[in-house]
Amino acid sequence: MIDFLTSFSPAFVLIVAGIIAALTPVYQGRKVLMVGVPALVLVLINTMYLKGGDHGVLGALGGYFSVAGIELTTIRIDRLSIIWGNIFAFAGILNGIFGLHEKCKITDSSALIYTGAGIGAVFAGDLITLFMFWELLALSSVIIVWRGGKDSYPAGMRYLAMHILSGVLLLAGAVIYGRATGSYAFDHIGIDAPGGKLILLAFGIKAGFPLLHNWIQDSYPKSSVTGTVILSVFTTKLAIYALARGFAGTEILIYIGGVMTVFPVFFAVLENDLRKVLSYSLNNQLGFMVAGIGIGSSLALNGVAAHVVVDILFKGLLFMSMGAVLHRVGTVKASELGGLFRTMPLTTLFCLIGAGSISAFPMMGGFISKSMIIAAVFEEHHYVVFGMLLFASAGVLEHSGIKVPYFAFFSHDSGKRPKEAPWNMLVAMGIAAFLCLYLAFPWGGAFMGYKGLYAMLPYAMEGEAAFHPYTADHVVFQMQLLMGAMFAFTLLKRFGLYPPERRAQILDFDWTYRRLGLSILKWIDAMWTRLGAQTKYLLKLLFGRVGKRLYQVFSPAGTLSQDAPSGIAAVFTAGMLAAILLGVYYF
């Protein structure tokens, strides 16, 4: 049995389960699939990996078959992909548990297929397989977006357009690359390879590069309670995997990553919808990973892999807690929430753990991974980007670490007294929260706590390459950063959040500076919003006109679609004949 199941990509197990789920009328049956099949896949992945010889250092290759003359490798499990595979399968289980209460056939089956597509793409050994799962990922996830309700349909359409574009770019790049190099294998590509730029752009759309990022904040907050949780796991992290596989050490990524970490901070601070705040912070975390990939040293790539694992856990945890709030209260607008800790104590606790992890408090998830990336950036002497990452780390604390839990659970009392989240949500959040703490646990044997995570990373971390997050240096530095940021929040809050009142100005030169900076940024943001609105208006006008013109020409009553009288059609035919005769005679 296990031999049979390991002979093809585990993605197909999930996809078949998704199809079965679509045909299963009893929701309990679907829920068994939702939790059980990702668990089965988790076992399968590791069986395959261990069978791959030498503990999979060389990687397990397999699942060959050919489509239209191209040999496809659908299984490639090595030290890099196994991490993504494991955390994806695990996230699938968590999502299954989190969504146990939901009785929607479409979401269940598309979530399974979506998970399968994510895992399939991670294990793709060639660009064509990658493309196929890339597209499947887009198609299955847009269905999840669409289940979000009324507003989600246009958002889903925009989401789909971006992702289909990404897929098309990937295919075009892959064909060019394959023809130039004679191989479709998905290994290091590099930006200078033929088609490399197209592929990078395709990955960049999915990874939310600056200016290509809007689909994240556009669609994720509009999805359903469970939808956002699962969406936040796969699409963007897959892009990170693809970048790490194909473009490690590409210098431009360092700067792209730096910008990605910084710019969402401002938007996140100003945003009222807490799930949108989290979407911005998702973008910001991706920036850390992209910068790490740009560095490309083994420490940096290890940091990226570790950060993906922890990020899926804490970001999932935060989205889950906001999902629970949305489920119970019906809104996640900061202005309408507050004081929920009284009746949702456990959700509050879990949210705080997630918030602490994303802010990289020592002893919590983000600390052990983010410090690796930042250290790698520092080691390679990219001081500007280093500064940006530090600034962004402080910013993360502001908006995700403090703002989200503060406005949802504390702040002024909104008077709302919702029930505690359903048990299944609490279980899922509990597991994620436990792992956030466990993976940062500093004591114990070789495979306890963070050492266990480090042992799994793609590059060996023994001897000289060893990395110790819990040095006095790291901890003190991180605490200073965090305390400074918390202090800032307290002050800003104390004197009225935005803009700070006059008294704040004279407190410290640093604050003057930050306030000035903040005002400039606020101005830019306001202008940006106006510019955006203006562009949107112009685009709408343009597309409205083009669409209308197209409609006039092509609609059933349009010029080109009326039933042509046979007389006109006959004239067409004669014209065609004349054209061909001319062509045939004279050319």
Binding site: A68, E135, W146, A569, G583
Partner: protein, 523 residues
């Protein structure tokens, strides 16, 4: 065991003739059969079903024979050309024979409830008889090796098809004007074809395709008569295969014909005409001649691209469900023409593959649409609301075929579009890849619109509650799902279909066929 040896010798020898003669004779008998059920049995349907099943077996035997023993050149009645008529079957037309007969089997299965609902009972026997005539005509067009015989069978199939389209009038009166339009256009096409063949006869003095090809090879391309013949034949066939902008008859005919006939037409009729275009341009004329090569490249590929773009846009804005699919057919013909227009082995393989694959998916789509009408009288896109709940199985099959039309990986549509893109890349036609991508996105829009209606809207209210689930009858679901599943099977494992397309393309890349010994029949 050799699969050919399981067929008796007389089937192998006379299969090509039987394929055409049997449905023609059965058509006569079916026309005489009673309209009413006798002892609960629908006699005309049983006769039609038996005939198409036997024809499918014959077509399969012929295909196997061709694949293992090479081309069959069958002299009708033992009269060898130039006196008699020859039937010529090679790897180019044998797969099309199998395709037509298999689609006919599936459609006939589906016809039992569908035709009872859409055609008046008193016209039932004539309806099935006309279908058999049309079926025989298509098979004749594809098997014959005689140029004039092509025209005859083309008219046989066309005239019966006009009648069949017009029989949709009991459902929608507009079928009459659609049929009339089709009649006029079809006749113009057939006339052009026969004029072209006349010019060929004038030049070569023979009607046998192999003889024509040989004499043309000897005399060379520099004859005005030959060029004139070429132009007339290409336009005539272009009309029949709905090459843009000669497609104007198609949307009306597909939209108002009885459901069963639409599915059969969409999956077979344009394919037979496309085969004739391949036969004439590649094996009778010579693609290495300047004017033929240039026509392929500029005319077929050019019109193909134009058709892909314009017809896809038209499909987006249609309100009538079947017109959406009809315009999409015009666009898909564009893909095939693009592949053929490249005139390389890869390109022709891709075009041919798309022809087979398109028959599978469009057949499934039209069968599903027929089932929607059968249960709920649905003809408009807006009426599809909630079909995902009211007819889940039918809608699921529709969705699979629709995704395939878009070209989602894992379906036949992806296989042939990928093949087409690779062929274009090999040719250096990067812009063609761009067009394929853009039209695929347009396909996402027009298919997505339908799927969105079905799955993301609640079923309409009726009598206080939402419409109850009312799945299509099993006998309609079986052929529909066979097609939908083959769209997946041949999408995942495309080796068999690709190799068929490849052997067909190899026949064409060999250039004109100028010599082939005869098997005498009818002793």
């Amino acid at each position: 065991m050799d699969i050919v040896s399981i067929f008796p010798a007389w089937v192998l020898t006379h299969g090509p003739a039987l394929l055409v003669v049997l449905p023609l004779m059965m058509a006569v008998l079916t026309a005489l059969a009673p309209n009413k059920n006798i002892a609960g049995v629908n006699i005309p349907w049983v006769m039609t079903g038996g005939t198409v099943v036997v024809c499918a077996i014959l077509a399969f035997s012929v295909l196997m024979q061709v694949l293992s023993h090479g081309p069959i050149n069958y002299a009708m009645g033992g009269w060898e050309p130039p006196i008699g008529i020859a039937y010529y079957i090679d790897a180019l037309n044998a797969p099309i024979l199998l395709l037509i007969t298999l689609v006919a089997v599936l459609c006939t299965l589906y016809a039992l409830p569908s035709v009872s609902a859409e055609v008046e009972p008193k016209k039932r026997a004539p309806f099935y008889a006309a279908f058999l005539v049309s079926f025989a005509g298509l098979l004749g067009m594809v098997t014959t090796g005689d140029a004039f015989n092509v025209f005859v069978f083309l008219e046989v199939s066309s005239i019966s098809t006009y009648v069949l389209v017009a029989m949709g009038a009991s459902r929608d009166r507009r079928a009459l004007t659609a049929a009339y339009n089709y009649l006029i256009m079809g006749s113009i096409g057939a006339t052009f074809l026969v004029i072209g063949i006349g010019f060929l006869y004038m030049q070569t003095g023979t009607l046998n395709m192999i003889d024509i090809a040989r004499i043309l090879q000897e005399s060379g391309p520099d004859s005005r008569v030959v060029k004139l013949a070429f132009a007339f034949i290409v336009v005539g066939l272009g009309l029949k295969l709905a090459m843009f902008p000669l497609h104007t008859w198609l949307p009306g005919a597909y939209a108002y014909a009885p459901s069963f006939m639409t599915a059969f037409l969409a999956a077979t009729a344009t394919k037979a005409a496309l085969y004739l275009l391949l036969r004439f341009t590649f094996t009778i004329f010579d693609p290495s001649w300047g004017f033929v090569g240039k026509s392929l490249m500029y005319l077929l590929a050019g019109m193909g691209i134009l058709g892909m773009m314009v017809a896809s846009l038209q499909a987006i804005f249609q309100n009538d469900l079947r017109r959406v699919l009809a315009f999409s057919s015009v666009a898909q013909v564009g893909y095939m023409l693009l592949g053929i227009g490249m005139a390389t082995t890869l390109g022709v393989t891709a075009g041919y593959l798309h022809m087979i694959n398109h028959a599978i998916m469009k057949g499934a789509l039209f069968l599903a649409v027929g089932a929607f009408w059968y249960r709920f009288g649905i003809t408009q896109v807006s009426d599809m609301r909630g079909l995902g709940k009211t007819m889940p199985l039918t809608m699921a099959a529709f969705t699979i075929a629709g995704l395939s039309l878009i070209g989602v990986p894992g379906t036949v549509g992806f296989v042939s579009k990928l093949a087409l893109a690779r062929a274009a890349a090999e040719n250096g036609w990067w812009w063609a890849i761009g067009v394929i991508v853009v039209t695929s996105i347009l396909a996402i829009v027009y298919i997505g619109r339908l799927i969105e209606q079905a799955y993301f809207h609640e079923p309409p209210n009726q009598g206080g509650g939402t419409l109850a689930k009312n799945e299509a009858p099993l006998i309609m679901l079986i052929p529909l799902w066979i097609l939908a599943i083959s769209a997946l099977v041949f999408g995942i494992n495309a080796e068999w279909t690709t190799s068929l397309a490849r052997t067909a393309a190899d026949v064409l890349s060999g250039g004109p066929i100028v010599n082939m010994p005869y098997i005498a029949g009818g002793h």
